[in-house]
C-alpha cells in the first residue's frame, strides 16, 4: 500500500455544466459510459439495482452495457461505499484506473481508510455526488415502493427533508466543502472548509433543477479526467455554490442542536446504559462500519474471554450479570477506537436489528472528539490522524489543573 497520495487541489470552484435532458441518473451514467468507452478508466464502481429485485448492491463493472443498471444515488445505503472499495484494493494497488461513484460520506470513509493503509487510491478516481440523504434501510425493506418515492421527493427538499435517516438530516458534508470559511463562524462547529476535498471529481445537483448537473473537479487528477473527456459543456457554477452554502448553514445548525440533545441523553453511565438497553451484542454496527478495519475486532477476540469463576464473582458482587457481557464496554471501546474517524455515514444505525440510534450517538461523540483535535475526518488526504502525531500543546481542555496551578490554555487558541 502506498502511504501517501499527494495530490494538489484545484484553486477555484470551476467546472462544467452538463445538460441532463433525460434526468440526472441518465446524465451521470452517460458520462461514465463515455469515460469507459474512451478508455479514461478501465472499470466503474457504482451502486446498482439487482435485476428483478428491489435490492441494491455495488458493482465493479467493465461491461458498458451493464452500466444501465447503475444508480449513483440509490434510495438506501446498503454496503458503505468506502468499505466496498477497500475490499478491491486490500491486497495491493489496482494498476488499472477505476472510477468509483459514491456518496460524500462514502468518499470520506475511503480517505480515512487510506490513512489507515487499508485502501490504495492511486488508480481510483473518487467521484462524489450531492447527496440528499438516504432512507432508513428498515423503511425500504418494509415498503420499497413507498420509500423510493419518498426518496425522490428528497431531491426537491434539500436540507429540510425529515424522512431521510436522522444522521442524514444533520449532515453538512452532503456536497463539496466551500473554498472559503464555512458559512458559520462558530468555532465550536467542526471545520468543513478543509484544505482539500476528498473526491477527485464532484457532481453537483443542487440548483440544477434536474435539468443540469455540474461537474466540479477538485484535484488535478479530477481535472485531468474532465479535460480528457472533452465535453462540450459550459462553465457556470454560481447557482450551485450559493445554494449549497445556504443548505449547509441550515444543516450545521441542526447538527449543533442534535449534538447538544444527544450529549444530554447520554450523560452519565445510567443514561448511556439506557440508550443501549436493547443491544443484543450482535456487533452488526461494527461489521457495517467502514472505518472499523481490524482483522478481528478486539471485542470479538479471546482477549476478553474470562473464566467462569470470574463471571460468578462478578455476579455475586452485583447480584446478577447480564449476558453477553460488557455491552457498554463494546460501544465505548469502539468509540475510543474510531470516533476520530467517524464520518457519520449511518451504516451502523441501518444495520442495527434493534433500532438503537447508534449512528446518532456515535456522530455526536465523533463531532466532539474531532473538535478537540480540530480534525475533520476524510476531508484532507494529507491531514494525519491525530493519534499518529504528537503536539506538545494540545488537549489542554481536559487537563484539570492542580490547586494553584495555571488553568489550561484558552479554548480559542486551540481551534486556530
Amino acid at each position: 500500500m502506498t502511504s501517501t497520495q499527494k495530490d494538489d487541489k484545484t484553486e477555484s470552484k470551476t467546472g462544467k455544466t452538463l445538460p441532463a435532458e433525460d434526468g440526472i441518473t441518465s446524465a451521470i451514467i452517460n458520462l461514465l459510459k463515455k469515460s469507459l468507452a474512451e478508455k479514461q478508466v478501465e472499470a466503474i464502481m457504482i451502486p446498482s439495482k439487482v435485476p428483478d429485485t428491489e435490492a441494491y448492491t455495488w458493482l465493479l463493472l467493465q461491461d458498458e452495457s451493464l452500466l444501465a443498471l447503475g444508480n449513483p444515488l440509490p434510495p438506501v445505503m446498503t454496503v458503505q461505499g468506502g468499505k466496498a472499495l477497500s475490499n478491491v484494493t486490500k491486497h495491493g494497488d489496482l494498476q488499472e484506473k477505476v472510477a468509483a461513484v459514491m456518496r460524500p460520506c462514502e468518499v470520506q470513509a475511503a480517505v480515512e481508510l487510506l490513512k489507515l493503509k487499508q485502501i490504495d487510491l492511486d488508480h481510483i478516481y473518487l467521484i462524489s455526488v450531492d447527496c440528499p440523504g438516504a432512507m432508513p434501510l428498515r423503511d425500504y425493506v418494509n415498503d420499497p415502493e413507498k420509500t423510493a418515492k419518498a426518496f425522490e421527493e428528497a431531491f426537491s427538499t434539500w436540507g429540510e427533508n425529515e424522512s431521510v435517516r436522522p444522521v442524514c438530516q444533520i449532515c453538512h458534508q452532503f456536497s463539496l466543502p466551500a473554498p472559503q470559511q464555512s458559512a458559520s463562524s462558530d468555532n465550536s462547529l467542526p471545520k468543513t472548509e478543509a484544505n482539500f476535498p476528498a473526491a477527485d471529481l464532484h457532481i453537483g445537483l443542487i440548483g440544477g433543477d434536474g435539468k443540469n448537473v455540474f461537474l466540479i473537479p477538485a484535484t488535478t487528477k479530477g481535472q485531468d479526467l474532465l479535460d480528457n473527456l472533452d465535453l462540450s459543456a459550459e462553465d457556470s457554477m454560481a447557482n450551485w455554490e450559493s445554494k449549497v452554502e445556504e443548505i449547509r448553514e441550515r444543516k450545521l445548525n441542526k447538527r449543533k442542536a442534535a449534538d447538544a440533545e444527544w450529549q444530554a441523553k447520554t450523560e452519565g453511565v445510567d443514561n448511556l446504559t439506557a440508550v443501549f438497553d436493547d443491544c443484543i451484542n450482535c456487533h452488526n454496527c461494527q461489521s457495517a462500519c467502514p472505518v472499523c478495519y481490524c482483522q478481528q475486532c478486539y471485542f470479538d477476540s479471546q482477549l476478553l474471554r474470562l473464566s467462569p469463576e470470574s463471571y460468578l464473582e462478578r455476579a455475586e458482587k452485583r447480584g446478577a450479570l447480564r449476558f453477553p457481557l460488557d455491552t457498554l464496554l463494546f460501544h465505548v471501546g469502539r468509540m475510543s477506537h474510531m470516533a476520530l474517524s467517524c464520518v457519520s455515514c449511518g451504516a451502523c444505525e441501518d444495520a442495527c436489528p434493534m433500532s438503537i440510534p447508534v449512528g446518532q450517538v456515535f456522530t455526536m461523540m465523533g463531532n466532539k472528539t474531532q473538535e478537540y483535535f480540530a480534525y475533520s475526518p476524510g476531508t484532507d488526504r494529507n491531514e494525519p490522524l491525530p493519534l499518529q502525531i504528537f503536539e506538545e500543546d494540545e488537549f489542554g481542555e481536559v487537563e484539570t489543573p492542580r490547586e494553584g496551578a495555571e488553568a489550561p490554555k484558552e479554548e480559542a487558541e486551540k481551534n486556530v
Binding site: C294, Q295, Q296, S310, M338, P384, Q388
Partner: protein, 561 residues
C-alpha cells in the same frame, strides 16, 4: 502454569518483621490453591538467603517464585540471578514490595499486614501468567559513523580507525576538508608547508579502515549505543542508500557563516570589493589579493564582529584571522594601508598578544568602534563610517573584508531531530556539560565535536575530536556484548492489519512494515519495551511480553478485591 508457586516473605531484619505480622501473611497465602509453599526468612538478599532460595526452588520443584520483600529497584536483579542459578527462568519470578509500599509507610500493623496480603495475592495471580522469556545477547558493534568530513571529522576518524574498528566518514559536499580545508595559511605557521588539513585528508583516504562517503548525508539513524542502524544516502546521478551498522556516532558537522542580509549596513553583495573572510581566504589561496578591476588594493579595512550583537556570542577566531589577513596584506606591499575595526578584541592564545603587537608595529591601525559601522560607496572607493567614543569618523579604502560570525551549519536542526539530541539557544548542538563534558550528548553513543558544538578554533576542534575518540575507544570495546531489553513488544500476525499506527507512534523507530505480509514487525533489539504501541493498536495485535492483558488484569482484579 503448573501451580507450584513458592512464596517467600523476607523479614528484612526488623524492617518488615516488626511492622507486618508475617505469620498471618503466611497463613493466608498458604491457603491459596496454586501456592505450594509459603515460608519466611530473616534476610533473603544475604548469601544465606540466596542459597536458601536456590535450594527451595530445587527441593520444592517450583514452577514460579514469588518473593515479598523490598523494592524491585533494590533486589529484583539479585533474585533473578538466583533463579538462573537454580535453573528457573528468571521471568517466572515476581518481587512484591511490602517494605517501601507497606511496612515503611503504614504505621498500623493490622492495616500494613492486610495490604501486604493483598499485594502478595495480586502478585501471585500475576506470576501465574508469566511466560519464560529469553535474554538475548548481541555483539556490540565497534565501528563508528562520523558525520562531517572537515578537520574534526577527519581527526576523529583517524584516531578511531583500526584493524578492529571501521569508520564510516560521511561528508555532504563532494570533497573532504570542510571549512578548514578552505583556509590557505593556518596560524600560527605561515609558510609553504603542506596544509595540515590536506595532510589529514590524504591520511584518511589512504587508510583502509576508513570508508569515505562524499556527496552523502545520513538520512536515518535508529538504535542505541553499540547497535545503531544507519542509512547513508548519496546524491547525484545515481542516488542510492546504503545501510550500515555502527556502535557510535560522532557529529562533526561544523559551521556556516553569518549572512548579514541583502540590505545590511555592510554592503555585502551590493558594493564591489566588499568580501567575506572566506572569499578573502580563497583569494589568498590563489595568491590573488586583487580588486575586481584586477589591480592590487592600496588600502583595506577589516571589520570584525559582524553579527556578534545580533547572535549574542563571540566567534573566537575572527580577530586572529583578521590580524593574519593584515599581516599578509602588509607582506604584499609595505605601503598598503590596513585598518582593523572591532568592537571587542579576542586574543586568547599564548602567542596572540605578540602577534597583535607585531601588527601594530607594522603600522596596521586598530580602531575600537561602536556598533554602527556603515559601508558606503564613495566613487570608485569605499567609505567605512563608524563612531568612536561618541564621535563620528570614517576611513576610505579600496577593499573591505568582513569577519562574519560562525553559525550552526544548515543541517544541524535536521540531524538533531534524527539523533534525538538537543540544540541550545544559539542553535549549535548542546553539550551535556559546558565545563565538564563538552562532547557528549544525552544520548549514549552519540558524540559531538568541533564547531558543530559552537565557535572554536582548529586546535580546540582537534582536542575535542580526540576526546570523543577516547570515550569511544574505552566504551566500545571490540567483542563487548550487549544485552538488549527483554520485556519488549511483539505483534501477532493474525491480528495485524498493517495500518502502521504503531509504527508512527514508536519513538525509537523499532517498528517496521513488511509489505509482503502486510503487517508491522517489531525489532526486538531496538525496542525498549515502553508499551506505547501496545496502547495504540485497536486490534490488540501488539502485546508486551511481560505486561500482557491477563497478567495485568489478574493482578489489578485481585488487588482491588
Amino acid at each position: 502454569m503448573n501451580g507450584h508457586i513458592g512464596v517467600y516473605v523476607c523479614e528484612c531484619g526488623p524492617n518488615i518483621k516488626d511492622r507486618i505480622d508475617i505469620d498471618k501473611v503466611l497463613e493466608d497465602i498458604s491457603s491459596l490453591e496454586n501456592v505450594k509453599v509459603a515460608k519466611r526468612f530473616p534476610l533473603l538478599c544475604s548469601n544465606d538467603g540466596k542459597k536458601f532460595l536456590e535450594e527451595e526452588i530445587a527441593k520444592e520443584e517450583l514452577s514460579h517464585l514469588v518473593v515479598a520483600a523490598c523494592s524491585p529497584r533494590e533486589h529484583e536483579q539479585t533474585f533473578m540471578t538466583v533463579c538462573v542459578k537454580a535453573g528457573l527462568n528468571p521471568y517466572l519470578f515476581q518481587l512484591i514490595n511490602i517494605r517501601e509500599q507497606c511496612a515503611w509507610m503504614i504505621p498500623d500493623k493490622e492495616q500494613a499486614t492486610a495490604k501486604a496480603i493483598q499485594y502478595i495475592r495480586a502478585g501471585i495471580q500475576r506470576v501465574a501468567f508469566h511466560r519464560p522469556l529469553e535474554q538475548k545477547e548481541i555483539d556490540s558493534i565497534p565501528d563508528v559513523c562520523v558525520i562531517g568530513g572537515g578537520i574534526s571529522g577527519l581527526e576523529t576518524s583517524l584516531s578511531l580507525a583500526g584493524r578492529d574498528r571501521r569508520v564510516y566518514l560521511v561528508e555532504k559536499e563532494d570533497s573532504l576538508g570542510g571549512m578548514a580545508g578552505k583556509l590557505s595559511k593556518l596560524l600560527p605557521y605561515q609558510g609553504s608547508e603542506l596544509s595540515p588539513v590536506e595532510a589529514k585528508i590524504k591520511q584518511a583516504q589512504d587508510n583502509a579502515n576508513i570508508e569515505i562517503f562524499t556527496s552523502s548525508t545520513v538520512s536515518d539513524v535508529r538504535g542505541f549505543l553499540g547497535n545503531f542502524d544507519i542509512t547513508i544516502s548519496t546524491h547525484g546521478e545515481s542516488s542510492e542508500a546504503r545501510k550500515i551498522q555502527a556502535g557510535a556516532v560522532v557529529v562533526a558537522t561544523g559551521f556556516g557563516l553569518y549572512d548579514p542580509g541583502d540590505d545590511s549596513q555592510y554592503g555585502l553583495g551590493q558594493i564591489d570589493n566588499v568580501f567575506t573572510a572566506l572569499e578573502f581566504e580563497e583569494m589568498l589561496g590563489k595568491d590573488k589579493l586583487l580588486l575586481k578591476n584586477g589591480k592590487p588594493p592600496k588600502s583595506v579595512a577589516l571589520i570584525h564582529c559582524i553579527g556578534r550583537k545580533e547572535l549574542g556570542y563571540c566567534s573566537k577566531v575572527c580577530c586572529l584571522y583578521s590580524i593574519k589577513f593584515a599581516h599578509l596584506l602588509k607582506n604584499t606591499s609595505a605601503d598598503i594601508d590596513v585598518t582593523e575595526l572591532y568592537t571587542d578584541l579576542c586574543l586568547p592564545h599564548k602567542s596572540d598578544q605578540a602577534y597583535f603587537d607585531e601588527a601594530k608595529e607594522k603600522g596596521i591601525r586598530f580602531i575600537r568602534t561602536g556598533d554602527d559601522v556603515l559601508v558606503k560607496e564613495k566613487g570608485k572607493q569605499i567609505e567605512v563610517e563608524y563612531d568612536r567614543n561618541g564621535q563620528k569618523d570614517s576611513v576610505t579604502v579600496d577593499m573591505v573584508v568582513l569577519a562574519p560570525a560562525m553559525v550552526p551549519s544548515k543541517d544541524t536542526a535536521t540531524l538533531a531531530e534524527m539523533l534525538n539530541i538537543p540544540l541550545d539557544k544559539t542553535g549549535f548542538f548542546k553539550e551535556i556539560h559546558e565545563i565538564l563534558d563538552s562532547i557528549s550528548t544525552p544520548i549514549e553513543g552519540v558524540y559531538i565535536a568541533g564547531c558543530a558544538v559552537g565557535p572554536r578554533d582548529i586546535p580546540e576542534s582537534i582536542v575535542q575530536s580526540q576526546a570523543a575518540s577516547g570515550k569511544i575507544l574505552s566504551s566500545l570495546i571490540p567483542g563487548k556484548k550487549i544485552r538488549p531489553e527483554v520485556k519488549v513488544s511483539e505483534i501477532r500476525e493474525d491480528f495485524c492489519t498493517g495500518c502502521q499506527t504503531c509504527l508512527s507512534i514508536c519513538f525509537y523507530g523499532a517498528i517496521s512494515y513488511d509489505p509482503i505480509k502486510d503487517i508491522s514487525v517489531v525489532n526486538e533489539v531496538i525496542c525498549r519495551g515502553c508499551g506505547s504501541c501496545v496502547g495504540s493498536c485497536p486490534s490488540g495485535a501488539i502485546r508486551s511480553k511481560h505486561f500482557t492483558y491477563p497478567q495485568l488484569y489478574r493482578e489489578v482484579l485481585e488487588a482491588l478485591r
